[in-house]
């Protein structure tokens, strides 16, 4: 397919306002400002656009739920891209920042918001500098700010830097962080659409979601749904990383199969190795095995196969990857990033990590494997946000598919799948 969101990202100066204006830039905003806000929400609903951040919730519905009786309302753009294996918003913001601004403005017009906050993760400081410079240009040319394009619509965009917290990617935690607090999730309901930022109605949308709005406004809902399988329309960015020859971000339709993404787009597994396992949607989702990859990479099909498309961060592992090690690596991440609000996640994540470390070091017992499953099942579904499920998943899914490998670790008292790319002398990742 011809890329839509990333069509020009490889061209020099594609991030500038001049370049953007030469390629239909801000045309969608002009068109949108001539439409009734409600009609935009209906259009987005008809397009079936689903949130690109992970949950795949229909964006139009999210906007419809925003309480239009309360002023002011806000858009909070989730640019806290932190899901391991995901790096799509990075390229969008770095190379196509005006597309994001235009998406934010259309969203604000649709729900009647006067400010959009872009919450960007602190580690993307070089990206933030691009955003700030380009935003200043957009302000100077009247695309953002007071009386946008003479329409009488005022809208500001504010870039807000985070400071290193995975949990800030959860929508209510992001709002807490924007308010200057610890990024910890709130109890839902009330949902942000009713009481979000500063207790006002707020729509929290992912960067890629907002970037899909200008093409929808320009080309219509039918065009969007015609791209890709039913209920999974539109272009999608896929991030492929791990043991592939050409890791990268690839824009494709959701009818593309996972196998095509890994073997055609990303060049396949490194030479002399074979595929062992794939995490299809960022580290929080269950593993798929090599024989499960001939399915369309859509929200619904991946879910049917027993996993989730999530943030479309496809992590590929070849046969040199020890699954106990992989689970332990991710559990270190989750125990480190747990916000600490809910006990099952705060304590359970730590225990999963300890048990996995024991098994990986060859000090585990057979009963530890069942203990992993038991602890995991006591986290999943028992926390305020989806982090708990995410933290339990790496342990549960690796035991489910690779139990024999866990047993071999226990039986032989050592790691049975050594690899030349892992630490050779010191226990790093375990301090």
């Amino acid at each position: 397919m011809e890329p839509i969101l990333t069509k020009y990202v490889r061209e020099p100066n594609s991030f500038t306002l001049d370049f953007y204006l030469k390629h239909q830039g801000y045309d969608a905003l002009k068109k949108a400002l001539g439409m009734q806000p409600n009609d935009i929400i209906e259009l987005v609903k008809a397009s079936g656009l689903r949130g690109r951040g992970g949950a795949g919730f229909p964006t139009g519905l999210k906007w419809q739920f925003v309480d239009k009786k309360i002023e002011p309302r806000y858009i909070a753009c989730n640019a806290d891209e932190s899901e391991p294996g995901t790096f799509k918003d990075h390229v969008l913001m770095e190379r196509n920042p005006h597309l994001l601004f235009e998406g934010c403005l259309i969203g604000c017009w649709a729900i009647g918001a006067k400010v959009a906050y872009i919450y960007i993760r602190g580690e993307f400081f070089h990206v933030q500098r691009v955003l700030e410079a380009e935003l200043a240009r957009a302000y100077a040319k009247g695309y953002v700010g007071k009386n946008i394009l003479g329409s009488g619509f005022d809208c500001d965009i504010v870039i807000h830097r985070g400071a290193g917290a995975y949990e800030a990617g959860e929508e209510t935690a992001l709002i807490e962080s924007l308010e200057g607090k610890r990024a910890q999730p709130r109890i839902k309901p009330p949902f942000p659409a009713v009481a979000g930022l500063y207790n006002k109605p707020t729509a929290v949308n992912n960067v890629e979601t907002l970037c899909n709005l200008p093409p929808i406004i320009l080309n219509g809902a039918e065009w969007f749904t015609s791209l890709g399988p039913e209920k999974n329309g539109g272009p999608k960015l896929f991030c492929v990383s791990g043991h592939v020859k050409k890791p990268g971000v690839f824009e494709a339709l959701m009818k593309t199969t996972l196998r095509e993404l890994i073997f055609d787009h990303a060049g396949g597994i490194r030479d002399g190795h074979r595929l062992k396992a794939v995490i299809p949607g960022g580290s929080s989702v269950p593993i798929l095995l090599p024989d499960q990859l001939d399915i369309p990479a859509s929200f619904d099909d991946v879910q049917k196969a027993g996993s989730m498309l999530g943030s479309a961060g496809i992590i590929v592992m070849d046969e040199t990857t020890c699954m106990v090690w992989a689970a332990r690596n991710l559990l270190y991440f989750y125990k480190h990033e747990s916000c600490g609000k809910c006990t099952p996640c705060r304590e359970g994540g730590d225990w999963l990590y300890k048990i996995l470390t024991r098994i990986e070091n060859g000090e585990g017992e057979m009963r530890d494997i069942d203990l992993l499953v038991s602890v995991g099942n006591n986290i999943a579904g028992k926390t305020l946000c989806a982090f708990g499920d995410a933290a339990a998943t790496p342990a549960l899914t690796t035991v489910k598919h690779f139990r024999a490998e866990f047993e071999a670790h226990v039986r032989e008292g050592r790691c049975t799948v050594p690899a030349d790319w892992r630490a050779s002398r010191m226990p790093v990742g375990a301090h």
């Binding site: 790096f87 990075h90 602190g122 500001d156 807000h160 400071a163 290193g164 610890r182 690596n329």
Partner: protein
Amino acid sequence: MSFHPLMVYDSERFQKSERARLDEGKPFEFTRERRAILDDMLTKYPPEQKRSAVLGALYLVQEQEGYLTASGMRHVAGILGMTAAEVEDVATYYVMFFRERVGTYVLQVCRTLSCALAGAERVTEALSEKLGIKPGETDPSGMFTLLEFECLGACDRAPIVMVNNEHWHEQASAESCAKLVDDIKARGPAALSGCHLEVER
């Protein structure tokens, strides 16, 4: 003062909090330029929501002092109408804030799965060997601090090393690390490869 006749209450031995005490640091006040940046930042949020600027204010303290000091946090609290405890509550949550003195160059190696699959553990190991310190430590000269970091969101160019919370070095390898350290000593952040998206524009 005793609540039980057999229990020894001894404030020296027992009633000690394990809470890490913050370094008081030098008496703190923002430079005029940084104060202006903060005042500008405050205009972006509703007037009664000054607290929203706390992350930005803490970055400014860190820029000025090299790390977050207790006096810096109190200063921020005063400006934003928060209590010192509220500022500390925020500061201790986010990993990009340093609460003790760090080296001139903080090397933050991404250790999460995609980078690890590409050899991040060996990168940490090589840097650790070259600098003679373990992750989490600062070398005796005070020039380098080595940290392991969680996913930086650049898994296509793994492994990634970030320096001082902003400069990226992509596709690091165990072999290139010794050279990297020497290069940083000679040229500072210019020694880093930078984010490819930035470089290729």
